[in-house]
């Protein structure tokens, strides 16, 4: 079981790394747009829409990887000193809660994405930039996060939890 979980998690974390390139692309797109507009009077068409699409990809394709690194902060002051079995129950409850919520959001988002595709939903810019790809990426990201929670639950049940914790303060943390 563990090799399978590790393989799935490896894929999810790679996807997170890949989504990181969205930042680079957005930087280049916006800089090109600004330079084009101010120097050559030729703005980059759909720069705004593409940037929005890339932001959605950056956020949602990276969610599973962020969960793997335990970047979703929780408050543990109240539970830190509880006996271990009780802490375990809380941990399991936490995973289940997050899984149910994420699957719910993923389900409705998928329905919305399908309906958006059927309607050919597009923005109101100079070019009718399609919106449905972003909606599909968003739904996909939520499903991948659900998969990560399933991995977390399986790790919990088989006693193979990851060692990383939110205490690893890195410069990428919140503030």
């Amino acid at each position: 079981m563990l090799p399978l979980i590790e393989a799935v998690e490896w894929l999810l974390s790679r996807l997170g790394v890949l989504s990181g390139f969205a930042t680079l692309l957005v930087t280049l797109i916006v800089v090109t747009d600004v330079a084009g507009r101010s120097i050559f009077n030729a703005p980059l068409h759909s720069a705004t829409e593409v940037s929005e699409l890339l932001l959605v990809a950056l956020v949602f394709l990276g969610l599973a990887g962020a969960q793997q690194k335990r970047q979703n902060y929780a408050i543990d002051v109240a539970t830190r000193h509880l006996p271990m079995p009780l802490q375990n129950i809380l941990e399991a409850f936490g995973y289940l809660f997050c899984l149910v919520l994420t699957v719910g959001l993923a389900w409705f988002s998928t329905k919305q994405a399908l309906s958006s595709y059927d309607r050919g939903e597009a923005g109101f810019g100079i070019i009718a930039f399609p919106i449905w790809p972003a909606r599909f990426i968003l739904a996909l990201g939520l499903w991948l996060l659900s998969v990560q929670f399933v991995c977390d639950i399986l790790r919990f049940l088989t006693g193979n939890q990851r060692a990383t914790g939110p205490d690893d303060a890195t410069i990428g943390s919140h503030e």
Binding site: E52, G62, Q71, N72, A74, E91, I171, S173, H174
Partner: protein, 435 residues
């Protein structure tokens, strides 16, 4: 208005509290409580529609692209070690006054903060650059660590600032106005820190080595050190300069900043590795912040359906308190909350409840954002979760954590003085912005 009117709202807040205490990740606890609130008050098809569209609406906004861009720029500035030249310039100009290196550290933090919006990154980079030098020259760990942890907080006050970006997203207050307004209080904070260090060392000379017998730098050396900060200056002009002059939107300015800081990294060794690390860290931080923004947005909607924020705002206005007392009553709990929750989560959890009050009593949303940021700063240098203190400690194995926090204490007192000044004289922040 009776307690009965508040019950639905209180029950949602109670549910949020229970979920948080049960160690549910903050973003999910907020979303969960919000969804329950919505489901109670609205027909299911409406809730379903909201759940299917909300996450998209809360993310796919061109103005929000500013967040990953500023985060990436901060990472690149960090990797390029741009804080080093600022610290060296500070050293040349301020090194001769009592506690001069500590003052130079604050100067370095302030200069680095003009191109980096993260307090942890600022504290972290200055720990690398200034801490070994201060300890080597015989500064006491308390002063050395305290001035870096506190100086780091300038990262979130002096624009650009990740905290102000999130505050703007949550409250719809203009980011440009926030950035313009934050500049003077930010610089004032740095000056008060430097003055405070001077006084502290005058009162306790054992904190820092004596400057007697040391040869002062020549004017040529001083100006050369200043000239060495050229990359930092270019970045400042490209980013904050264009925002202040109204030439570029924050997103455009942030993209230029990210681009120029990327070039700064590409000019140095380990370029590929540093860029990849920066992209990865930016992605992770962006994900967790947006998870919080979406969660907080759902919570805000769930709470709004109960009319709780509006009713609370009406109740508070009815109390006939002065504006200042109301703001103080709102701000003080942040100091306590800061002991349990990190700054951004604190803002996201509380804004749906307190911002309507702030608007209702006619207080400036811009100034309130700055004051809340100050509260976040204080939380970052006070126990038990003072993130900056932990960052400095992690890079200073010889300085005990208790010493780091003791070193932060004088700065906390200075912060409280600054907050009092900002409330008493709103013009300090607002003289350039109309609200």
């Amino acid at each position: 208005m009776s307690l009965h009117d508040f019950l639905p709202g209180l029950s949602i807040m109670g549910l949020l509290l229970v979920l948080l205490v049960l160690r549910i990740p903050i973003a999910f606890a907020l979303a969960g409580a919000g969804v329950v609130g919505l489901a109670q008050a609205r027909p299911w098809p409406a809730v379903e529609y909201l759940l299917s569209t909300f996450a998209y609406g809360a993310t796919a906004n061109f103005a929000y692209v500013v967040l990953p861009l500023f985060l990436f720029m901060g990472h690149m500035a960090f990797s390029a070690g741009l804080s080093k030249s600022a610290f060296e310039a500070g050293q040349m100009w301020l090194g001769r006054i009592p506690g001069g290196l500590a003052a130079a550290t604050v100067f370095g933090c302030a200069a680095f903060s003009t191109i980096c919006g993260s307090s942890v990154a600022t504290a972290s980079t200055m720990s690398r650059v200034a801490l070994p030098e201060m300890l080597r020259q015989g500064y006491m760990g308390r002063l050395a660590a305290g001035c870096i942890a506190a100086g780091g907080t300038l990262g979130v006050l002096i624009p650009p600032s990740g905290v102000l970006v999130v505050y703007a997203i949550m409250t719809d207050v203009s980011l440009v106005k926030l950035f313009v307004a934050a500049f003077v209080p930010g610089v004032m904070t740095a000056l008060i820190y430097i003055a405070g260090i001077y006084l502290w060392v005058k009162l306790k000379p054992e904190l820092a080595p004596s400057q007697e017998g040391k040869i002062p730098p020549t004017w040529g050396e001083r100006f050369r050190a200043l000239a060495n900060t050229w990359e930092l200056l270019i970045l400042f002009v490209a980013v904050m300069g264009t925002i202040y002059l109204g030439v570029a939107t924050p997103t455009e300015a942030a993209a230029m900043g990210a681009f120029f800081s990327l070039i700064a990294v590409l000019r140095r060794p380990n370029r590929l590795e540093n860029v990849l690390i920066g992209l990865r860290e930016t992605a992770t931080a962006t994900c967790s912040i947006f998870a919080l923004v979406i969660g907080a947005g759902l919570f805000s909607l769930g709470l709004a359906t109960t009319q709780f924020p509006t009713k609370l705002a009406e109740l508070v206005t009815g109390l006939d308190w002065s504006q200042t007392s109301t703001i103080l009553v709102i701000l003080i709990p942040y100091l306590i909350l800061g002991c349990f929750v990190d700054g951004l989560s604190m803002i996201l959890i509380t804004m749906p409840i307190v911002f309507p009050i702030v608007t209702k009593i006619g207080f400036s949303g811009v100034l309130f954002g700055l004051l809340v940021t100050k509260m976040v700063e204080i939380g970052a240098i006070t126990p038990p979760v003072g993130l900056n203190a932990f960052v400095v400690k992690s890079m200073a194995p010889t300085v005990p954590l208790s010493e780091v926090f003791k070193g932060c204490l004088p700065f906390v007192l200075m912060e409280l003085l600054i907050v009092a000044l900002m409330i008493a004289f709103p013009q300090i922040s607002l003289f350039l912005v109309s609200d």
